[in-house]
């Protein structure tokens, strides 16, 4: 037997997903071990081996591919447990990372806090002033040297940082290094000679983009997380190899691909935040099988709600990321998050006498009131319990009983203040929370010029499947997929397992239209060769490697806006490049309305990018045995009264054990399908169907006669074709 494994670890749980060479899927979870990542991973592998009916050594020995995503880097950063990092930078610009472009108080903050200066503060510095060294050197915007590098000063600075200040990592970030990296490369040589044990990286390698602040942040974060990330990857790889893994460990990247651990160690920044991207890639893999082109991938957990988009079969690429108010620029699959989840707290706004939900969260500790861990303010999860969407004894497969009475008291107490009963209050909390989720999605789609009605929502994470019936309805999307059913809570791990080798190589260089064909050609070829060389290092070449070319383009002066435009392959002619400019103008008008662009305004290409992909072979997911209609459903547990917030009605609703729902089986709402790590709510007039791959498809407006519970009138299927593509 051969296995294709994905692991997503470092959060509360370490999740595993595996596909065997017959295309069968297996999932498992274990608690993350805080100080020994590999230990938690092996716990999860042990659980996975049980699921597969084998032992850990056999599982690992038979593993054909092992893809690992972690939040280790993010944890280091947020908890400020990274390496003591020193920064070498251009004389006169050492304060860039302290000034933070004046946005250190506000970047990434919720709107309400922006009007409240006393509630804002800058983050703890990643590199304190004492560890910043300014070096005499200067390059200009054309890449010409203005002041040569003071090599003696570099050596002295490195010695003082390493010997006196005891830094264990260094970042080198000089102005305009992405135009001309000579000074950074020379400084790198000096560091390697003087302090060979210290981790060091250069800004032109980590994030070769315009903007010294963001480039410095990227470089510093990279160094800050590098030693511990490298140790984590290395230890995991070593332990797996000793346990019999025959293939190199591959590390999940925010590009949506994987890289061999030894390559990933070079620039760990690109694996920072790869967890949400894993979920997005899992959605993408399933969407290809289901024939869905436009996906809103949503992950709702206890405190946050993450959204990523797939447009026309391609995940949306973002160019910027904010962590802890530090901003950096890196091409990555875009995911956006707000504080909105099961733990979001409901409060009364005293002036409008209305209910607000979030952004404050009870998190996992103390958690919702019903967890009985000391939480006193009602949360979204408490509202779920009060309404009956979550059952007090069915949570986490019954392993964690919930205190419904306490939840009810808390919700009732809140409602009394505005003259609402407990049920109305709980329903209201959900309506507001769902609206916030829908708002985030709307912002991500509408602002980019897309209409959410052209999308299917993929809902995963602990709280996603329970609330998708309502926020998806709010958006008017075509339908909802609970990917892999029971696998929805480990979708990121599954996504890691499906990812291919991906490498982005790019160069920031400004071209004004009409673009000079010879210069663009030589740049594209140079970047392609660079990318292909790296792929060759990873053992991939020739027809195994797909190459795509892009230009980041904008109207002259639009620093904050660019569109990713495909550039055709091969030797480009002037006509080809004119067509690229026309494509840009057409995209711009399509996104922002006809006439949004100004014809007289020049078009620029700012960045040339090559994306190379080596597809990794894996089995096709096996279809399961269809549900035997004659035998009837095995999963029905009974009924319970649920108050449906979208209808404001209390209805006797069916309850199912999701593990017993088979392919082809349909469940008409109102119903709840309980799974070990999540529950799926099926609203009134909605229909849940299990497909041949174990995905739950939720039709929002599709009652059907052939239902396990109640029958409802047949209505024309607006989105019917959507589901037919399996």
């Amino acid at each position: 037997m051969g296995y294709y494994l994905g692991v997503d670890g470092g959060g509360t749980f370490t999740d595993c997903a595996a596909m065997d060479d017959k295309g069968r899927l297996y999932f498992a979870k274990a608690t993350t071990t805080k100080d020994d990542f590999a230990a938690g991973m092996f716990d999860a592998l042990s659980a996975l081996a049980d699921e597969c009916g084998t032992s850990v050594p056999d599982l690992i020995a038979e593993t054909e591919r092992f893809n690992l995503g972690t939040t280790v880097g993010t944890n280091l950063l947020v908890e400020r447990r990274g390496a003591r990092t020193g920064l070498l930078t251009t004389a006169g610009h050492g304060d860039a990372i302290l000034i933070m472009r004046g946005t250190g108080r506000t970047a990434g903050l919720e709107l309400d806090l922006l009007f409240h200066p006393q509630a804002t503060q800058k983050p703890l510095p990643l590199v304190p002033r004492a560890l910043i060294r300014e070096i005499d050197e200067r390059t200009d915007c054309a890449g010409n040297e203005v002041v040569p590098l003071d090599e003696a000063a570099v050596e002295a600075a490195v010695r003082s940082l390493v010997e006196d200040a005891r830094v264990t990592a260094l970042a080198i970030a000089f102005l305009w290094s992405f135009k001309n990296p000579a000074h950074e490369l020379r400084a790198l040589e000096i560091v390697r000679r003087v302090a060979p044990a210290v981790y060091v990286c250069c800004s032109h390698q980590v994030a070769p983009r315009l903007g010294e602040y963001e480039r410095t942040v990227a470089t510093v974060i990279n160094s800050y997380v590098a030693p511990a990330s490298a140790a984590c990857f290395q230890q995991s790889a070593d332990r797996l190899r000793r346990s019999g893994l025959k293939h190199p460990l591959l590390i999940m990247q925010t590009s949506g691909g994987v890289l061999p651990a030894d390559k990933a160690i070079e620039i760990p920044l690109t694996s920072l935040g790869s967890g949400p991207v894993g979920g997005l890639m899992g959605s993408l893999s399933l969407a290809r099988a289901l024939g869905h082109k436009n996906i809103i991938a949503t992950d709702m957990g206890g405190t946050s709600f993450e959204v990523g988009l797939i447009i026309n079969g391609e995940p949306l690429v973002g160019e910027e990321k904010i962590i802890d108010r530090y901003r950096y620029r890196l091409s990555q699959l875009e995911t956006t998050s707000i504080a909105c989840g099961g733990g979001s707290i409901a409060r009364i706004d005293p002036y409008s006498r209305s209910i607000r939900v979030g952004p404050e969260s009870a998190g996992a500790e103390p958690g919702p009131v019903c967890y009985r861990r000391g939480g006193t303010e009602p949360t979204v999860t408490d509202a779920d319990v009060v309404l009956g969407l979550l059952s007090a004894d069915g949570f986490l497969g019954g392993r964690m009983p919930l205190d419904r009475e306490a939840a009810l008291r808390a919700v009732a107490g809140l409602g009394e203040q505005v003259g609402l009963g407990p049920t109305e209050t709980a329903a209201g909390i959900l309506r507001i929370n769902n609206l916030r989720a829908a708002e985030l999605i709307r912002q991500q789609t509408v602002v980019r010029g897309y209409d959410p009605r052209d999308f299917v929502v993929y809902a995963y994470g602990g709280a996603g499947p329970l609330h998708a019936f309502a926020f998806a309805q709010e958006l008017g999307v075509k339908g909802v997929v609970i990917p892999l059913g029971n696998g929805a809570s480990t979708l990121s791990a599954y996504g890691c397992s499906t990812s291919d080798l991906v490498l982005n190589v790019e160069r920031e260089r400004l071209f004004f239209a009409p673009f000079p064909a010879d210069e663009v050609n030589s740049l594209m070829v140079e970047l392609e060769n660079q990318a292909l060389d790296s792929m060759r290092d990873m053992g991939k070449s020739g027809h195994e490697v797909e190459i795509e070319r892009f230009g980041l383009m904008r109207y002259g002066g639009q620093w904050l806006h660019s569109l990713l435009v495909h550039v055709p392959p091969g030797e480009l002619t002037a006509e080809d490049l004119t067509a690229v400019v026309d494509d840009f103008r057409a995209m711009y008008d399509a996104l922002y309305g006809h006439g949004a662009g100004v014809v007289s305004q020049g078009v620029e290409m700012v960045t040339a990018r090559i994306r190379v992909v080596a597809r990794l072979q894996r089995p096709t997911q096996a279809a399961q045995e269809p549900f035997n209609e004659a035998a009837g459903t095995k999963g029905r547990l009974g009924t319970r009264e649920i108050f449906w917030p979208d209808r404001m009605e209390r209805l006797e609703s069916d309850v199912f054990d999701g593990r017993e729902i088979g392919p082809g089986e349909r469940i008409a709402g109102p119903a709840v399908v309980e799974l070990p790590y999540t529950s799926v709510a099926v609203g009134v007039d909605q229909m849940l169907e299990c497909d041949l791959f174990g995905n739950f498809l939720l039709r929002l407006d599709q009652p059907a006669g052939r239902a396990a519970g109640c029958a409802a009138a047949q209505r024309p299927a607006a989105g019917a074709l959507l589901w037919a593509a399996t």
């Binding site: 006169g92 004046g102 200066p117 006393q118 010294e212 507001i432 709307r442 912002q443 309305g593």
Partner: protein, 791 residues
């Protein structure tokens, strides 16, 4: 008063007995009831009840719709001042033009959108009429923009034939004409030397962009293509928000949405009133001095804001402000918008940008014909670099002193002055490295600094509180666009500038040379003769903002030798004496120049600063042992170790010195004798209001009586007057003559020597009576009592 200027001329045929606040001669101040053509039907019906849940769902949607307007502008505009510095604003307004939400952008623009919209309702509903799909454009500050560059668009949203609400935005356009590139015409003496005014005109008619109107507007500009991109971005913002509002109406019904809009304003009003009720009645003032009405003028002028709190209302006037003159004027629209910014930050910080409820409780009574409420034909285009930040600063001072008298926790929301009326701005033009004409605005104020508060230090380079989303551009972005090379951009140190019990956050300095061109023309820069940023309640004033130029330097030789100069003092050459407002200057290949955005206001007596905070600053390299000694009387060694005993002795010595140096109090008083059990109310850092058998009196926390309510406590203080450049080394400028017109006044408790207040003032001007509590019955100003509506 030493000025070589005469007051602004008046336009004879517009002057008469009937000057009214109609946006012609005098700024437009809308009446309570608007006069609107009966042809236009307004949607006023609302559901009597909306449940708390639907309310929140709709409120949240409206807030996000307004943000989408802003996101669109930010994304699609191309002038850095808009897309990066966030010099724009957007709003949703009720059918009658009341601003409901503003976005986290330049705050003072929000209310101007309301004024413009109300003016359109009153003056355009008959002809040419207001119809579905229309967009009106306005750049007339007498109607509702803060200066001509801030051109505003407002667009009605119709529902079933009735005008349901408005969506609007105001964007700073790079150049809208007039004699100076960038349109800041700082030498204008009348509006006829300024960029043209466009009173509201129909730019879009029933959904169709009018080519004639668009061209009329763009034709004035030196950079019409840039302005066109930004104008289209602004139009796209309106389209996005209008479409989403229509969807909301379809879904929830117009009466429900309207009820939510009204209730949101009511809730904002209630929240504001609740805060007001934590503040005693009284009158608080701030006075800020500015200089040079046009280049070469040596006059000194006053902006004063006085806030009277009476019950649940605030009354704001500008009594004490200089008559309108030269190019340092703003209109009523600017005054109101600027005053509302600090009121929102300190008293409506929890409303997420709902400012409409606040403005219902604030009554404006500025004196017309003054620099902060000018009449036609005063030129206004320069307001953006001088008056608007100056009025924000003045209003901030008055508001902060008022809020500092509030009960905790509101008291801690007081925020010192961030006076960017020196603005750190630099506007220049020339031929760039690509051989093309360019024009640029560099906002040196963008790294910002958050001033001190009664409860905490400010925030170093923490942005501008009154432009919450503001960002500084990267050095590399600037060098890519403009033919310059930045020698350094660094944080200031925490020295005397903005020192106090709590210090201001530090500002930043940036220096350049030319690169890729032979010369540049600089149109706007500000080099302060003296600091204009008053300290808060005994704190040091902010530092002096400067713009320095050295010519014929050896910078090229230094670079060739492998060294990047890190201060202007380091290079040889001749420094040109620059004044607050010089004429255009040419910079060449041998020039080095630098711009400093100083630290802002400190809070409380620096000698009261906690030693741990000083130690932290020493260890973090934010201050030096010498600075800590000068500013705080702290004795520390080179490693930042503070000697507590020596520090205490030094501080005691300085307190004694203050009393020896100072002029004796005008009124000599003894110890305060409080009524048994009465509470002391903090009304400053060490200043208190105390109930005594002789009525309410001011006192120092040491027990010194500082006089009765109804008198200025400053009259009971020892006062020391020193030259402004004696505050610290950074306060000295070339403008000897101007500096000598001013002084630094410190008001000390005659018993313990604590510093209770400071003023940067013109020599000979009386003390500013800035705190006048009216705790006792019957002390309300009759003017306010007459018109104060009951709640």
């Amino acid at each position: 008063m030493g000025s070589n200027m005469t007051a602004s001329p008046q336009q004879p045929d517009m002057m008469g007995a009937d000057v009214v606040w109609d946006g012609m001669v005098r700024g437009y101040a809308p009446p309570e009831v608007l006069s609107i053509s009966p042809r236009l039907r307004l949607h006023t019906a609302e559901e009597p009840e909306v449940d708390p849940i639907s309310y929140e769902v709709i409120r949240n949607s409206l807030q996000n719709i307004n943000l989408e307007n802003g996101h669109t502008i930010q994304k699609l505009s191309i002038s850095p001042i808009t897309m990066i510095n966030r010099d724009f604003q957007c709003a949703i307004l009720t059918e009658s033009g009341d601003v409901m939400f503003m976005g986290p952008y330049l705050m003072y623009l929000a209310n101007t959108l309301g004024l413009m919209t109300k003016w359109v309702l009153e003056n355009r509903s008959e002809s040419p009429g207001i119809e579905d799909g229309d967009v009106f454009l306005c750049s007339d500050p007498y109607v509702g923009s803060s200066h001509q560059q801030d051109t505003e668009l407002t667009s009605p949203v119709f529902w079933e034939g009735e005008l349901f609400c408005w969506v609007a935005n105001s964007v700073h356009y790079s150049d809208v004409g007039g004699p100076a590139p960038g349109s800041f015409c700082l030498a204008s003496r009348t509006i006829w030397e300024d960029p043209p005014l466009f009173p509201p005109m129909k730019l879009v008619e029933r959904g169709g962009l009018r080519a004639d109107m668009e061209q009329l507007y763009l034709r004035q500009s030196r950079v019409p293509a840039t302005v066109a991109m930004d104008l289209h971005a602004a139009l796209a913002g309106l389209t996005v928000s209008r479409q989403r509002i229509l969807k909301l109406l379809e879904r929830y019904g117009s009466k429900t949405v309207k009820a939510v809009m009204k209730r949101t304003l009511d809730a904002g009003e209630r929240a504001f009133v609740d805060k007001l009720r934590m503040i005693p009645d009284g009158r608080w003032s701030e006075r800020i001095y500015t200089e040079a009405a046009v280049p070469g003028d040596t006059g000194i002028y006053i902006s004063q804001v006085n806030i009277t709190k009476n019950g649940d209302y605030l009354y704001v006037d500008n009594e004490g402000t200089s008559p309108q003159i030269g190019a340092i004027n703003n209109t009523y629209a600017g005054f109101v918008g600027a005053v509302l910014a600090p009121l929102t930050l300190m008293l409506a910080y929890d409303l997420g940008g709902v400012c409409g409820g606040v403005s219902r409780r604030v009554k404006f009574r500025p004196t017309p014909g003054t620099i902060t409420c000018a009449d036609y034909p005063a030129p206004i285009s320069g307001a953006g670099v001088c008056n608007m930040p100056m009025v924000v600063a003045t209003a901030t001072g008055a508001t902060a002193k008022m809020v500092a008298c509030a009960a905790p926790p509101l008291r801690d929301k007081a925020l010192g002055i961030a006076d960017v009326h020196a603005y750190g701005g630099w506007i220049f033009n020339g031929i760039n490295q690509y051989g093309k004409f360019f024009m640029a605005m560099h906002s040196g104020m963008a790294p910002g600094a958050i001033p001190a508060s009664p409860g905490r230090d400010g925030i170093d380079t923490g942005g501008q509180d009154w432009v919450p989303g503001m960002e500084a551009s990267n050095v590399e972005e600037n060098e890519l666009s403009w033919p310059v090379l930045t020698l350094f951009r660094r944080e200031n140190r925490a020295d005397e500038a903005g020192a106090g019990r709590y210090r201001s956050g530090v500002g930043a300095e940036e220096a350049w040379i030319l690169h890729g061109t032979d010369s540049l023309d600089t149109q706007v820069y500000n080099n302060e003769s003296f600091t204009k940023c008053q300290g808060l309640l005994g704190g040091n004033p902010g530092g002096r903002a400067f713009f320095r130029v050295k010519r014929d330097t050896d910078v090229a030789a230094r670079l060739a030798a492998g060294r990047v100069p890190q201060s202007v003092d380091e290079v040889s050459g001749e420094e040109i004496p620059l004044f607050w407002k010089g004429g255009p200057i040419e910079l060449d290949r041998m020039s080095v120049w630098t711009l400093n955005l100083p630290n802002f206001a400190g809070y409380g007596d620096p000698l009261d600063r906690d030693l741990e905070l000083v130690t932290r600053d020493l260890l973090e390299g934010m201050t030096t042992a010498e600075d800590a000694f000068r500013a705080y009387g702290v004795v520390a060694d080179g490693d930042g170790v503070v000697d507590a005993r020596k520090t205490q002795m030094e501080r005691e010595k300085r307190r004694r010195q203050r009393l020896e140096d100072g002029l004796p109090p005008r009124e000599v008083r003894g110890l305060i004798r409080p009524l048994e059990g009465s509470e002391h109310r903090a009304v400053g850092d060490r200043l208190e209001a105390v109930r005594t058998p002789r009525g309410i009196r001011y006192a120092c926390t040491c027990g010194q009586d500082l006089g009765p309510e109804g008198a200025d406590f400053k009259d009971s203080c020892v006062v020391r007057e020193t030259p402004v450049d004696a505050i610290g080394p950074g306060y000295s400028s070339f403008a000897e003559e101007m500096m000598r017109k001013m002084c630094f006044r410190e008001f000390f408790c005659p018993r313990c020597g604590a510093r209770l207040a400071t003023e940067v003032a013109r020599l000979g001007d009386d003390y500013l009576w800035d705190i006048d509590l009216r705790l006792s019955q019957g002390r309300q100003d009759p003017r306010e009592r007459d018109s104060g509506e009951e709640t």
